[in-house]
């Protein structure tokens, strides 16, 4: 990581690459720090959109996945619709939503949600349906009904799958938020990138990109941390866990 930055810096100086084509890391740093309060505001604005969109994906995806896994009929009815939402380019959808819902947070959250929720649904359904038949039979032998089977056996089994989906959704939320901001926003890192580039202020635009990358990493790590803390048995993490006395 550090090596990349050093190489990047050296290349910019060595080959005399012009600043609006590829600014050196030092230039990015200076440009970003010089307007730090503004950058912070834009970051917080984007972070709000990302988090709201991410939470919306979780709140919608988990129950939706349970419905899909519970019934082949619902699955057959809902899955094609979901695929349609994924085939529509969000860049095309964003302006329409903006006009329909007005220039506020809502259309941006919806676009973020639309970008992020699908992998989460797919992963959760896969987990719910991958539950070994032996565990299902154990549930039946214990007189579990369909709801109990879903909540007490399938859902816990699906947790590692859900976290796989959550990690993808976390990264995609950042993408979704920026897409929404590109189309219509008066704040946010996506907006900052656009306005900076319009004025050939490449270093600042690159600074925003770096912050976006950091946001993505941060959110991904937060999801991983939550998995390790709350579900230590998930994703083989237990092998590294300290032995409990």
């Amino acid at each position: 990581m550090i090596g990349t930055f050093v190489l990047w810096e050296a290349a910019c100086w060595g080959f005399g690459i012009r600043e609006f084509v590829l600014p050196a890391p030092s230039a990015i740093w200076t440009a970003t720090v010089s307007v730090w309060p503004t950058v912070l505001n834009h970051t917080l604005s984007t972070l709000t959109t990302v988090l709201l969109g991410f939470v919306a994906s979780v709140v919608v995806s988990l129950p939706l996945a349970m419905l899909i896994a519970a019934s082949p009929v619902i699955s057959a009815a809902v899955y094609p619709l979901l695929v349609v939402t994924q085939s529509i380019p969000k860049v095309a959808l964003a302006p329409i939503l903006l006009v329909a819902l007005g220039a506020n947070e809502l259309p941006r959250v919806i676009v973020t949600f639309l970008v992020a929720f699908f992998p989460l649904v797919v992963a959760t359904v896969a987990g719910l349906l991958a539950t070994p038949p032996e565990l299902i039979e154990l549930g039946r032998a214990c007189r579990a009904g369909r709801v109990q089977e879903l909540l007490r056996i399938r859902l816990p089994f699906a947790v590692p799958f859900v976290f796989g989906g959550l990690k993808v959704a976390a990264a995609l939320s950042v993408v979704g938020a920026v897409v929404a901001e590109f189309v219509g926003a008066d704040a946010g890192l996506g907006y900052l990138i656009q306005t900076s580039m319009a004025f050939f202020r490449s270093p600042l635009a690159f600074g925003a990109v770096v912050i976006l990358a950091l946001l993505g990493i941060l959110l991904f790590q937060a999801v991983s941390l939550a998995e390790r803390v709350f579900f230590p048995w998930s994703s083989g993490a237990q092998s590294g866990a300290p032995p409990v006395a």
């Binding site: 032998a141 214990c142 007189r143 816990p156 947790v159 579900f231 048995w233 237990q238």
Partner: protein, 255 residues
């Protein structure tokens, strides 16, 4: 207690072909009796247990417990599956109490009883471990404790020691006999091991393959408590020989 009357079971395969797993099986098991079931692989032993557990319906005939026809899983029946089948996300204690919690039968004393039971199975101190932290034999002991904690009147065991090494197997057999003599439930015990069947059971049911039928029922009149010293006795040898004759006699007849 358990009455299996002219039971047949035919499975319909994915391709539409029918597999007759059991044909005209009749068997009565008394309260507190230990019955072992032996037979070649694929002869329908697991299917017979599933029928008694109410997990699959019979195609013909009837299974009844206490005079009531079995139409689905019952609270007074517990099953130990061929594999440990533990919940990977729950620790040992929660695995053992899982059926009772699922059936809303867990009370304030459940946890203490579970701990005591785990201690008799040599698992004291492992209550907080995850299944992945246990050996295969320990996992199977947890599964047996899980079934016993339900205090069933009918205990169904499908090759519970199948995955264990010979030493652990002998030890566990004696442990099971100790637990059984303390509680006295009816046990249907599927095994591939003829000595194990003779050592444990009051009666050994020999099932012949394709379709599964009761080929013979061997009464074992060895005195209890049983031990491996009895393996040298005439009665033990007589029973083992008779069972073996059925299983290998059939092989010869088929070949």
């Amino acid at each position: 207690m358990i009455r299996i009357l002219h039971v047949g079971k035919t499975f319909r395969g994915r391709d539409g072909s029918a597999v007759e797993a059991l044909r005209d099986v009749s068997l009565d098991v008394a309260e507190g009796e230990f019955v072992a079931i032996v037979g070649a692989s694929g002869c329908g032993k697991s299917t017979l247990l599933r029928l008694v557990a109410g997990l699959v319906p019979a195609s013909t005939g009837e299974v009844a417990l206490h005079g009531e026809a079995v139409t689905g899983p019952r609270e007074d029946t517990a099953m130990v599956f061929q594999a440990p089948t533990l919940l990977p996300w729950a620790d040992v204690l929660r695995n053992v109490t899982f059926p009772l919690r699922l059936m809303h039968r867990a009370g304030p004393g459940t946890e203490d009883r579970a701990r005591a039971l785990l201690a008799t199975a040599g698992l004291a101190g492992f209550e907080g471990k995850l299944p992945s932290e246990l050996s295969g034999g320990m996992q199977q002991r947890v599964a047996i404790c899980r079934a016993l904690l339900q205090e069933p009147r009918v205990l169904l065991m499908d090759e519970p020691f199948g995955a264990l090494d010979a030493l652990t197997r002998e030890e566990m057999s004696l442990e099971l006999l100790r637990l059984w003599s303390a509680r006295r439930m009816a046990v249907l015990f599927v095994t591939h091991s003829i000595p194990e069947a003779v050592l444990l059971a009051d009666r050994v049911v020999v099932v012949s393959p394709r379709p599964g039928r009761v080929a013979d029922v061997v009464e074992v009149s060895l005195p209890r408590p049983r031990s491996f010293d009895q393996e040298g006795s005439d009665e033990f040898q007589r029973c083992a020989r008779r069972i073996r004759a059925h299983i290998f006699g059939e092989r010869r007849a088929v070949a």
